[in-house]
Structure formats: C-alpha cells, structure tokens
Symmetry: C2
Subunit: 228 residues, 2 copies
Amino acid sequence: MVSTRNPLNIGAAARAMANFGFARLRVVNPYDVAFREARSAVGAAPLLQAATEFATVAEAVADCTLVVGTTSIGHRELQHPIRRLEYGSKLIHRRLADAPVALLFGSEKFGLSNEDLSHCHWLMRIPTTDPGLSMNLGQAVALCLYELARDPAAVESRPESIRAASAGENEQITLKLLEALRLSGYINPVIADSTEAKVRRLVRRLDIRARDVPVLLGMLRQILWKLR
Amino acid sequence: MVSTRNPLNIGAAARAMANFGFARLRVVNPYDVAFREARSAVGAAPLLQAATEFATVAEAVADCTLVVGTTSIGHRELQHPIRRLEYGSKLIHRRLADAPVALLFGSEKFGLSNEDLSHCHWLMRIPTTDPGLSMNLGQAVALCLYELARDPAAVESRPESIRAASAGENEQITLKLLEALRLSGYINPVIADSTEAKVRRLVRRLDIRARDVPVLLGMLRQILWKLR
C-alpha cells in the first residue's frame, strides 16, 4: 500500500488479507504516524503487527519477480498494458507458484503516481460498471484478494443438496391434507376427483424436503384430530 | 442492510452498488439517526438519497421472489441450505432475469438474527480461508456485488495485446547493440560468433514491444555516436 492516507484502510486491507489467506503486508510511506500507532496498538491483528514499512516502492518490491499496479483508470494516459482483474489474477496466480508477486495499491485520493507505476510490469483494473467512479480502497483490496483466492470450480460444484422428500412421503402428506380438506368441507363431492389431482400436483410443486416431512405430518395430524 | 450500526458502512455499500451497477438500497431498522443524516446530507450519492427505510425485513423484501441471506457461519447452527458465493451468485443471476431478488446483510456485530434468517430461502457465504473470521461489512457487500456482476468470460478473454516488435525491428536493435559492444571492446574477437548469437538470443528474450523500438534505437544511436 503506497502513500495510504487513512490508517483505517490499512486495517481493512489487513483484515481482507487474513480473510483470504495472504500474509505479507508492506506499506510505503504511509501518510502519518497513525499507521505506526495502529500497528503497535494492543490487540492489533498479527498481520498488521508484522507489516513492514518502506520509504520507496523500489525497496518494497525488491524481492518480487512480478509487480502489478492497480488502477481505476479514466483520468490518466496510462503507458502500461491494463488487464481486467479476472484475467490478471490468473496470470498472478501462475507466477505465485514459484516467486513472490507484489500487488500495489495507491493512495485514496490520487491512486498510484506515475513514478510508482513505472515500477510495475503491468496494471490491473477492477471491472466496475462506470470506470470513472473510483472504488473505496479497502473494498478494492478485498476484491483483488478475493479474486486471487477464488476457486473457479466452485461455480459448478453444487453444495451437498438437502434430500428431497420421497414420492411415498409426499403421498402421505397429500392423503392427510385431502382428509383434512374433506372434513373441513373444502372438497366439493361433485368434482372431488379433479380437486384431488390438483392437491396432489400442488404438494409436488412445494418441493418438500425430507426433514420437513415429520413436521408437516404432525401439523396435519393435529388439525385432523381437532376437525374430528 | 438490516440493523446496520455504522452509517459509514451503509455509505460503503452504496458506493459498491454504484461501482457494480446496482440501484435499490433498502435499509431495515438502521441503528441510529446518523443514517438519516448521511442520506439527506448535501453531496450524498444519489443512490444513498434514494435508499428506502423499512421497520421490518418482511416489509423490505415483500416484492422479491427470492430472498438470500449472507452469513459468515461458524458460531450458529444454521437451519438453511448454505451456498458458496460463486455458486449462489449464479442462481441469483438466473432469477434476476425475471424478478427482483433481495440480498440481506446483517449488523456488523451480530450478522442476521434468526428472525431475519427465517425470511430467507437460502444463505450465501463468502469463501474465506478461515470461516471463523468475520468480514468487514462494506467489504462483504462489495464482494457479493462484484461476484454478481462478474463476467465469467473475462477470465479467458485476453485484452488487446500490445504489439510485439517484429523480427526486423529486433534485428535492427541487435545490430546496433553489437556495434556498440564491438566499439566498447566487450566482444572478444576469438569468440565473436558465439557472442553475437548470445546477444541475438538475449534481445529476443527481452520481448520488446513495437512502440519501444524507436526509443531503444535512439539510445543506441546516441551511445554509438559517443563511442566513435
């Protein structure tokens, strides 16, 4: 994080790093002493306590083989290739397998300076709807780390599904419900057959879960008891 | 946003909504009058000004056909199906095509209450590394909206690439560089051929961009002029 003005944003970045499994936070020329205070405060997150401070971008990224700047573009003529977060993350991910990568975030107000940017191999932008609208710094950090940690397979992997009620269980419920409807006078005997079919279809549409079957049967049993 | 305590978080949520093209912010029972003040302040974002306030979750989600709660899980026995953000977003996306969907966020300290959760069809969780660690509310909102707006195709779509130097351009640079090396005494005449091949290969590995060719040739020309 370069020239960050608000220490709360450094804290928010540290929190997002902990959330997504990143460990090494480096700050370059933070705006005031508040950062040092926040870092040394009792109860500061371990990640924040371990953050290291540098005077220049060059020193902060010296051991990295890939340096990627973040930008909201829009107002500057950028001299770098710009990649969207989704694609850039894939490239970073590949490189991370064998060497440290630096991801640079600029100040809240001005972003990265041209001097900061000159240390970058390329830039990454978060695909916001309106590229003219800048993002909150803490949110931008969270999004980049989320995308880096994102598991593409998770889009397709259905979670364990909750078992649906079996046909037999649905029919048990249907029969109890029909009995209650008969006893309460809901079913017109002239068109009883068509009503029964309607009720049966309705129960199937409810997509009842297996674990809800005993609860529903209990409710119906109690209603039947009262109706009789 | 349900029972949000800090109006700054409502502001951060509104900013993330603007960033990713979402428009309808509803707040339920915000913690204090600060929200009303923030909303009516001169210079408040249009999205924040247009936010509507409700006393209960039931009223806030009344027109939605799908209600999804967000959670960091961990400390509660949840009675709902929980889906990871990547997969849940896909389901929400599909539903959004024909009906409004509500995405619920609880308070900073307690998340959604069991009563709030009972209005939800299912829950969505952000896949953090350590599920015991809660997320910053503003960051959680930004991540959910980012994932909802995410374009899966963007992972594969390479951006317009910056044109690489042609073989002819690389050779121009190579010849100028070899001349400079000869004039400066770098090349040992005995092994000149192998050195030339090394230099030629090195220039190709540099992966020079077309637009950098005139700059590099200019530098070499100047050096050659001085060497002579």
